[in-house]
Subunit: 229 residues, 2 copies
DNA sequence: CCAAAAGTGTTTCACGTACACCCATGC
DNA sequence: GCATGGGTGTACGTGAAACACTTTTGG
């Protein structure tokens, strides 16, 4: 049933920039719009905030509904409210960014009713609305934050090699890192648990697997520890 | 005239955490509410976003209308949208924080029709709605950001002494800093212009005045420079 | 002349950075 | 046996941190 208010209200939406990482580079998950405006164009997953759900819930719901992505790292990014950012009416959107383990989510995105696909973050198609700006802000946030918060692990499988971890930082920070210095640095943090396991099915010496020790990290943070890479 | 929509919409507001600095400590500007709920209680300046103004404009307008504060550093903080944060109806608020030169704004705030007052940031009265949480987030942002962005200068007069600057960092970061190391560090950044002026009317040796060289800062940023204190 | 804050250098230590070779494995 | 990435140590330089006394000015 319709609702009436004394003064006009902006519509409120959420949009999500979903990042994933593969062997080659950083990816962003986009959906193809099935409505005007920009019908058929690529856009960020998102939609209207229901009046009885909070913002984080709305973002998670839209992500699940439109891309099948669920139970991932999700953090509010920035709220975009420029006049005219949506040609139909005034729409304010609370943008989020998500970090997913790409291997877990490759299939769902591709097989969803709505067409969804991963694009290299530095080769995105033209995006609807102001979504290109939102992605730019999300990238900047990710680049800034990955250095002083251990969020990079959200992009990797639970067990990973040090080379995978280094590759992650190289891709996100867009610069090469020295292998020995990188390993020295991350191991000195004492946040990685060395497993008695190695990679499988590689055509060369198998690398040791590590796991991020989240319990230990939280304990150290309480003691004033600051993650930094 | 009233507006009708197919689905109910949250109300959208902006709220501002205004920081100022005096000799003693960091202050926050609050207003006394003249409407229910929390009538007579202290709250952040803020109000509804008009449908024809963008978010930054709305924040600036509310700040001007409610406190007389104008032309100050203002930056979006975070958007708060928990269910029940306003007892009347669903209200989503885009929070901002502002940094003002307290001496410029002491009078207006006190003489405005609405009662406004500065409170020490660590001794705030009970606040309406979830405003205490908003202030906490703003403080965390300020503490984090002051170290790697030259925003602290927004809290000082255009000409200031190195001791004032050090005091600023000590108050915001909540820890004492070594005088010699601090001076060495800030001067090494080459962002302060040493003036041929000293403090006036002090009962001891007058300190030299400095000015933040914003042009130089912007130029250095373009060359990849990163401010850090 | 006393109170109050301004101003000034050196030493030490930790950490970031640069850098090259041998090892294990699968094919 | 060869191609591919895994894994390892040292030397150097920069910058952070610790630390105390003299100078200037007004009252």
């Amino acid at each position: 049933m319709p609702s009436t208010y004394k003064y006009p209200r902006p519509a409120l939406t959420v949009d999500c920039v979903v990042f994933g990482l593969d062997d080659a580079d950083l990816k962003v998950l986009l959906i193809q719009r099935d409505l005007e405006p920009h019908r058929g164009g690529w856009a960020l997953p998102g939609g209207f905030v229901h009046v009885d759900e909070d913002l984080d819930q709305a973002a998670m719901r839209e992500l699940r509904e439109e891309t099948g992505v669920d139970r991932v790292f999700l953090e509010q990014l920035y709220t975009f409210g420029a006049l005219g950012r949506d040609p139909r009416e005034r729409v304010v959107t609370v943008a989020y960014y998500a970090l997913v383990k790409l291997l877990d989510h490759r299939v769902q995105a591709a097989t969803d009713a709505r067409s969804a696909a991963w694009f290299a973050a530095d080769e995105l198609p033209t995006l609807a609305f102001d979504h290109a700006e939102i992605v730019a802000v999300a990238l900047a946030r990710l680049r800034g934050k990955v250095r002083y918060q251990p969020i990079g692990f959200e992009l990797l499988p639970p067990k990973f090699t040090l080379s995978q971890l280094q590759h992650l930082y190289e891709v996100v920070l867009e610069r090469p890192l020295d292998k020995r210095n990188f390993r020295k640095k991350v191991l000195s943090l004492k946040l990685l648990e060395e497993l008695d396991e190695v990679e499988q099915d590689v055509a060369h010496r198998a690398a040791r697997l590590y796991r991020f020790d989240e319990r230990r990290y939280k304990k150290l943070v309480k003691q004033g520890f600051n993650f930094e890479i």
